[in-house]
Amino acid sequence: MDVFERIFGRSSSSASVAKKRLQVILTQDRTDISLETLNVLKDEIVSAISRHIEIEAANVEVTISNDAEGYRLTANIPVVSTRTVRVRTAGARAPRRT
């Protein structure tokens, strides 16, 4: 087993599993942001961006992590098309046509 791990690195060792688990646990412990809040945030980000560009709403990921520089809220948003979506909601500025 020792030789096996030496060849393939520590990635499968229980120590590295412990480290990864701790990183996830502590990120949650350190912030008051629950999974629920992150989901609400995701829905609002999706709806805000969808008003302007076309995105794959189902594949949007919103995560919170922390590194040496502090906490980071990351949104991974796959874009379908960069063409601007026509805004048709009330109150939005309509393109003027004369």
Partner: protein
């Protein structure tokens, strides 16, 4: 010059706070420092037993706070090391018997006479913890390289910051080199990376701790154990000496990873 109050604490219980307090006290006294160890774990006193002074208790911390005894009367002088003293906890009282202001007053008095006042904090984050951290000029956080201990340590770091106390320095206790080499224990660099605090000592797991506690003779009283030597190095660092960290076992690349945290 006034001494300094150092509180030794942890998130999880049973990680070696009391053993660390006793041994750092012994190590400092062996280097000629005047030391008072204060057992702040009221109701669950143990520092007296670990130090082997349980038969000499007359008065305790609560007696001092309530005015039944003078501080000088309650302090037990260790016959093995003339510079080492213990202020024991009360065994039959509750944590609430001593409040923050009283703890600060007692430690403030002790600081006038001793170079180091070591406060052995109770486990957990209830009122006793806050009381024992209140007088601290410096906090040492004991952690073992295990998921539960590291998680609880992280919580304590947050609390100590919230109390506007100096960021704790870490003692990684009960490190098992063979397990680290096998990839079955978090190593020093892992723990430092996760907790992002400064390191003050690494103490390897040592069976001698059990027999030394059985006998009431802290390992740091003598020179032949690895754990005793590790506590001695912590004492030297507390005295401001630069002592290199001994790495007991690390995965490849540990030097760069650890030095990243030590350089700061």
């Amino acid at each position: 010059m006034a001494g300094q109050v150092i509180t030794i604490t942890s998130g999880k219980g049973g990680v070696g706070k009391t053993t660390a307090t006793a041994n750092i006290g012994v190590a400092l006294a062996r280097r000629g420092q005047r030391v008072a160890c204060v057992d702040a774990d009221i109701g669950l006193r143990n520092l007296d037993v670990v130090m082997g002074l349980e038969n000499r208790i007359v008065y305790d911390l609560v007696d001092v706070v309530e005015g039944n005894a003078k501080l000088r009367q309650a302090l037990i002088k260790d016959k093995r090391l003339p510079e080492l003293h213990l202020l024991p906890a009360a065994q039959t009282r509750l944590k609430s018997a001593v409040n923050e202001a009283q703890m600060q007053e007692v430690c403030g008095e002790l600081k006038k006479e001793f170079d180091f006042v070591l406060v052995d904090s109770p486990a957990g984050i209830e009122s006793g913890f806050k009381t024992s951290v209140a007088p601290a000029d410096q906090v040492l956080l004991v952690v073992t390289p295990e998921v539960s201990s590291v998680r609880d340590a992280d919580r304590v770091i947050g609390l100590i910051e919230a109390y506007e106390k100096p960021t704790p320095q870490l003692i990684i206790n009960r490190l098992r080199p063979a397990l680290i080499r096998r990839g079955d224990m978090l190593d020093t660099a892992d723990v430092l990376e996760i907790l992002a605090v400064e390191l003050i000592g690494i103490v390897p797991e040592d069976e001698r701790i059990i027999s030394s506690t059985n006998k009431g003779q802290p390992v740091a009283l003598e020179d032949h154990s690895e754990s005793g030597a590790a506590f001695m190095r912590i004492a030297q660092r507390l005295m401001g000496e630069q002592v290199p960290f001994q790495m007991f076992a690390e995965s490849p690349g540990w030097l760069e990873r650890v030095s990243k945290f030590l350089r700061r």
